[in-house]
Subunit: 521 residues, 2 copies
């Protein structure tokens, strides 16, 4: 379907995507300047976060680009199965949690667990997600002037040729960004049984029954986030994880006090967290009825459940690219790239999850930008070794820079500013009160959150910041930038805080900045 | 009561403050190094935000300081009657609003308006506020090593002498920071009737009945914030204001699109907002039964109500200082200071609300720091002409830098990046979805918020940022700093966003940063 000359509105796009989804439209959706021929400066194979941002940047730089995706929309898994449902479910988890703690007090009615349905939330999401898809397609065409072909498989023929529905497009550069899928660890049998889901199959085809309990295999962010949601709905949840939660190699710079607050609070909500264990088998005939696990002490047991959720991480499918192009991949199949997103084959780039951790939006998008800038002739390197990070439980948990232990190890003479202060227990003090914690502050101070900032005493520079609570996540984007720019406690203390702020870093810094020799607060 | 040698715990402090409040303890609460005599480098008259931060900074700089407050605690009106209850009530307003829109859907029971009580929230606040007071006293003594006398009136005798309970203390410098109280505009009669409150009397002595409706006189932040809370509880609220909401001289840099979204959404919640009117009289015998007002068209009417709330701004009581010291004040009584917080009398400083707008915590605290730094011999100027600002309705509304109109006027060639994009109506699009707006995105897209960033096309610098929604407020503290440092769209686009972010400034900037000549998005 050639959409090049039609300026579909948001509503028209949404209808078209619904039609294509239901099979009424099966052809490719195409916005291509056909009068310019079939030759491109760059073809993005995969129109997820990286492909879309890379395309936008290429287009802005004057390159002719084409982006191809097998889905009906640009933007990839984020608005379809990943970040957006995760955020929707995490908001639901926070809200249910809040309504539970306040149940039958003030204006809150008694919390009715029977009403809280996982299936309802999945259906709500699926019913609405095409709006975001429509927007990506609309914006990419009308505002960003990208060329794209959707609802079509791209086959890489060689480093200058990509085939779509039998038609060949030539290109100076190829950018691979086809993402990953859930990794099913070998050694666990029965993962193909009914009742076993991951974040993608939870949505498509979708959970179609209301589980009575959940066992999560794996301790990833996804495990913590979705598990907290299931638990909040009243679906009793057990997490089976080899490593302690938040102590996996894929999460860097997790402060121990932050981790303790987060995990303690998951347990306080009734979650069963079994660390140091080895899941062995999903038991049951055709349908899962439990998970057999070897515990840390070597004994085995079966945890009964009608809902198994896999949160063990992800892997890419790069075999077609290795076969067609001979690009180097690592032992897990992730494409090897340098800081310019260049693979082992000149003119072939790879971006996003396909190159490995961190599998985060900022990385995918900036990979796309990096590839585009290098392709346009501007040498540009993207170092994603240091970045701010977050996850949800029923809280927003955010961190950036060094942990207290790492900072002490690296700098020796450091100051720690934290709330509640060391030596004061959470239940003794209503701080940190702030957006989203106000009611807790006056009813259950132990639930209000935790925060910590770390300074190097010699340079007076901010080394790290850590937060559990609400409303601070957005700030950490800028704190990451400021830490890299070397911001000091004195500069922090001279900022204009918006009080009550969700994190108290600015004002607490000011309370100490007068000190020639910094000390803890 | 000499507390110098006792290390009261948080719990002991809280009990002591409760006792003093109930009259069991009537003497002053004192933490003074008596062995050092009665002579100080600086005495802070008033231990609110400015006095406490100024004291902390002075102490850290090696000055001997004393801070005196008539209340039982340091920290001033913020945790007692102002910012903290405002934030508690605003969180309640947001939550009630959210539960109303979602009433009887998903896991939300039918919203029971009868349960939503203003009085309950006031009582909850009053029951808990001494915990914050205890913390201020504990921290100021145990962590910050401040000298203070609480529960005592300070009388300024001359510029080197302050008297407390008949005892005289000498000092090289005095810092005045005694704040303001609600301004009762002349020309409105009957403001002394029962049933008329301001933000302070709402708490102390406190509203003691459940009003059926509310009429707010004035269009200040306080009016918008408390009014939104009253309305959310089901107490039908009318705001009577001369100037359009958010178009008062005390609020700078309010973008018109932001304002429209905010005010439209207050009306959508059922608030009655009457602009361009002149309130004339609170009618009723001893108790208010209504407010007589002259409308914009010159006609008069009486709006019936059993609850009148004053939101007309604040004024200081500086007469005692004028009498004792002869300091210069303006026609409204605000103390005149320079950028070093110096008054017309050498050695006498003034800080916080007493010097006029903006009456915000960052200003009070930084005024205190500024006075301390200058007193310690470090020339330091505080320019608070440009600062980030916020208010609550049932949303968090935050802004910094120039509005679109101001930027166009000052720079001509600008780009505007906004969400929803120009030409797309809020109800058409689920964006901006983010923390706190996720459920709205899937049920009522028109409620998800609004945001805008403005760039100068020539320098590519960020000029302003504007946001209605949730979770972005904290970021604006850092955006203010970054704007002042001259951050460009290119630097914004190279930051690491934490997606979904409550504001989309980073990723939207990246989508446009590739352009040599910036254009709107």
């Amino acid at each position: 379907m050639d959409l090049h000359d039609s300026n579909l509105s948001m509503a028209e796009w949404e209808i078209l995507i619904h039609s294509a989804e239901s099979g009424e439209v099966s052809e490719a959706l195409e916005n291509v300047y056909r009068d310019k021929g079939n030759s491109f400066d760059v073809i993005f194979v995969g129109g997820g976060a990286g492909g879309r941002f890379g395309s936008a940047y290429s287009q802005a730089r004057g390159l002719r680009q084409l982006v191809i995706d097998r889905w009906l929309f640009l933007g990839g898994s984020c608005p379809h199965q990943a970040c957006v449902p995760h955020h929707l479910f995490s908001e639901a988890a926070r809200e249910m949690d809040y309504m539970r703690w306040n149940s039958d007090t003030l204006w809150f009615p008694k919390f009715e667990e029977d009403r809280a349905s996982i299936v309802d939330m999945i259906e709500l999401f699926k019913k609405g997600r095409n709006n975001a898809h429509a927007f990506m397609n609309w914006q990419s065409k009308e505002q960003l002037d990208m060329e794209y072909i959707l609802n079509a498989e791209a086959t890489v023929i060689d480093k200058n040729t990509v085939e779509v529905n039998g038609e060949r497009f030539t290109t100076k550069n190829i950018v691979l960004g086809t993402g990953t899928r859930t990794y099913l660890p070998p050694g666990i049998s029965g993962l193909d049984k009914a009742g076993v889901y991951d974040f993608a199959t939870l949505i498509d085809p979708g959970l179609d029954y209301e589980p009575t309990s959940c066992v999560i295999i794996g301790g990833s962010k996804v495990a913590m986030e979705y598990g907290s949601f299931y638990q909040a709905t009243g679906c009793h949840t057990t997490i089976l994880t080899r490593s302690p939660l938040m102590r996996t190699h894929s999460l860097h710079h997790v402060d121990e006090d932050l981790r303790t607050y987060v995990v303690d609070n998951m347990r306080l909500r009734g979650m069963n967290i079994i660390e140091g264990c080895t899941p062995l088998e999903v038991v049951g005939d055709e349908r899962a009825t439990g998970v057999r696990v070897r515990l840390a002490d070597g004994t085995e047991r079966v945890i009964e459940t009608d809902f198994v959720f896999i949160g063990t991480g992800e892997r890419p499918n790069t075999k077609p690219f290795v076969d067609a192009l001979g690009i180097d991949v690592d032992e897990k199949g992730f494409v090897k790239v340098n800081a310019r997103m260049q693979t082992s084959i000149p003119g072939v780039y790879a971006i996003g999850d396909i190159i490995g951790s961190p599998m985060e939006m900022f990385k995918a998008r900036k990979c796309g930008m990096t590839a585009a800038r290098n392709i346009s002739g501007e040498p540009f390197e993207f170092d994603f070794s240091q970045y701010p990070d977050f996850l949800h439980t029923t809280y927003e948990v955010t961190w950036v820079g060094l942990t207290e232990d790492e900072a002490r190890e690296a700098y020796g003479d450091i100051s720690v500013i934290q709330m509640p202060p060391k030596g004061i227990r959470n239940e003794e003090i209503s701080l940190p009160l702030a957006e989203g914690s106000m009611l807790y502050a006056f009813t259950r101070p132990e639930l209000t959150g935790f925060q910590k900032a770390i300074y190097d005493n010699k340079s007076r520079r901010l080394l790290g910041a850590h937060h559990v609570g609400f409303g601070a996540k957005d700030a950490f984007q800028y704190l990451d930038h400021l830490i890299k720019k070397g911001i000091t406690i004195d500069e922090m203390g001279e900022m204009n805080e918006l009080f009550l702020n969700p994190e108290h870093f600015i004002q607490l810094s000011r309370l100490r900045a007068g000190q020639e020799h910094l000390i803890d607060l």
